[in-house]
């Protein structure tokens, strides 16, 4: 009798745990959802910046599109790109493409993001993705990782900023190439490109 009760409780617990996973839709810890396909539409989202002010993607988007870049405070690769990201933001702001930073690292607080942006002179908006809901939705796994979407939120390019962590070693700049091609009304030659970086630490 006691054995039956224990078995029943055990089965119920397992079923309950499975139900929670199914309802929440959360992947198993460490498993990263796949990013949307090139051409897919990115749904609008709202996140707070480092000061706690809420921004929707629509409110930050440029008239010709946006570049979302998952960045980090402590990742040496992301930090190696600070100047290049800021330059990118400055260069394309006037061309109607806005750069938006997103920090999804669970270990990096909004205060840390704010201090880091000030220290590194990052002037573009940086959103704090607590709970990594946007990182999960976009399948972001690494910093830095860039998503270029057009004015209607269609994903046009996904991946690295360029081929080299060191600015001196850059021989190909896929993100800039994608932006320039789109602004010129031409097709993007390379719509995805990867590079090594730091894993986004999820909640």
């Amino acid at each position: 009798m006691k054995k039956n009760l224990i078995s029943t409780l055990l089965v119920t617990s397992i079923l309950f745990a499975c139900a929670i996973v199914a309802v929440s839709g959360r992947p198993a810890e460490g498993d990263i959802p796949l990013p949307p396909a090139i051409g897919a539409t990115i749904a609008d989202f709202t996140l707070p910046d480092a000061n706690g002010k809420e921004h929707s993607l629509a409110s930050l988007a440029g008239k010709n599109g946006s570049v979302l870049i998952f960045i980090a405070v402590q990742c040496p690769v992301s930090n190696a790109y600070n100047e290049r990201m800021e330059k990118l933001a400055q260069d394309y702001k006037a061309k109607g493409i806005n750069v938006i930073g997103i920090n999804s690292n669970v270990a990096e607080s909004a205060d840390a993001v704010k201090a880091h942006a000030a220290e590194k002179h990052l002037t573009f908006t940086i959103l704090k993705d607590a709970g990594n809901k946007v990182a999960d939705r976009l399948g972001a796994s690494v910093t830095p990782q860039a998503y270029f979407i057009d004015a209607s939120n269609k994903l046009l390019y996904l991946g690295r900023i360029d081929n080299s962590k060191s600015a001196e070693g850059v021989t190909s700049s896929e993100l800039r190439d994608a932006l320039d091609a789109t602004l010129a009304g031409k097709p993007i030659t390379k719509t995805t490109a990867n590079a090594f970086g730091c894993t986004i630490k999820r909640a």
Partner: protein, 197 residues
């Protein structure tokens, strides 16, 4: 006479020089005995493929870890990987570590860390100007997130991967499953051979 004396001096100097060489080499060996020399080989994308494919004679499962000295979770998980290597190498698992640090660190921070970890397995440093080709050879879906750990079966097929810090129970389960399956394949092929005689 003068010439003979000169020759004698020359002989003495030469014998001292020759004689001293083994002594210094010996002392070098003694000095490095406590700190074994870690040799890290630079490889390109083709070299990485060769590491993954290995020779036709090597039929062991292979665990490959991609790491960098600047990557905190890589450094944090490394002791666990060393333990896993010690535990499963006698059971037929090969382990290799591939650093993606800059080439300038191949004789400094990279071997220094590996020495601290008491690593004895073959270690490499991926030296490529564009990492994408090398990454696609490992796993076309790999975004480049580090650390990254891949487990290949004896035939070179990817059977398990972990992007981000390893979970030891999960990895050991995958290794044990693979080793069990390798054993059963070996024993079944052994039976087939003996049965065909």
């Amino acid at each position: 006479m003068k010439l003979t004396r000169k020759l004698l001096w020359l002989g003495l100097v030469l014998s001292l020089m020759l004689g001293s060489s083994p002594v210094s080499a010996q002392s070098k060996r003694t000095a490095t005995k406590s700190q074994p020399k870690i040799s890290v080989a630079a490889i390109d994308a083709d070299g990485l493929v060769a590491v993954l494919k290995r020779g036709a004679t090597n039929n062991k499962p292979l665990l490959v870890n991609f790491w960098a000295t600047w990557c905190d979770p890589c450094r944090e998980e490394f002791p666990d990987l060393v333990k896993i290597d010690k535990q499963y190498r006698p059971q037929g698992l090969d382990f290799t570590a591939v650093s993606i640090d800059d080439l300038s660190e191949i004789e400094t921070t990279v071997p220094q860390f590996l020495r601290e970890m008491q690593v004895t397995v073959p270690t490499y440093l991926l030296n490529v100007s564009d990492p994408e080709l090398a990454m696609s050879k490992v796993d076309p879906q790999w975004s480049g997130a580090l650390p990254a750990t891949f487990l290949y079966d004896a035939q070179g097929q990817l059977v398990y991967k972990r992007l981000g810090r390893i979970k030891v129970p999960e990895l050991t389960e995958a290794i044990e499953k693979l080793l069990r399956s390798s054993e059963s394949k070996v024993s079944s092929s052994g039976f087939a051979v003996s049965g065909s005689k």
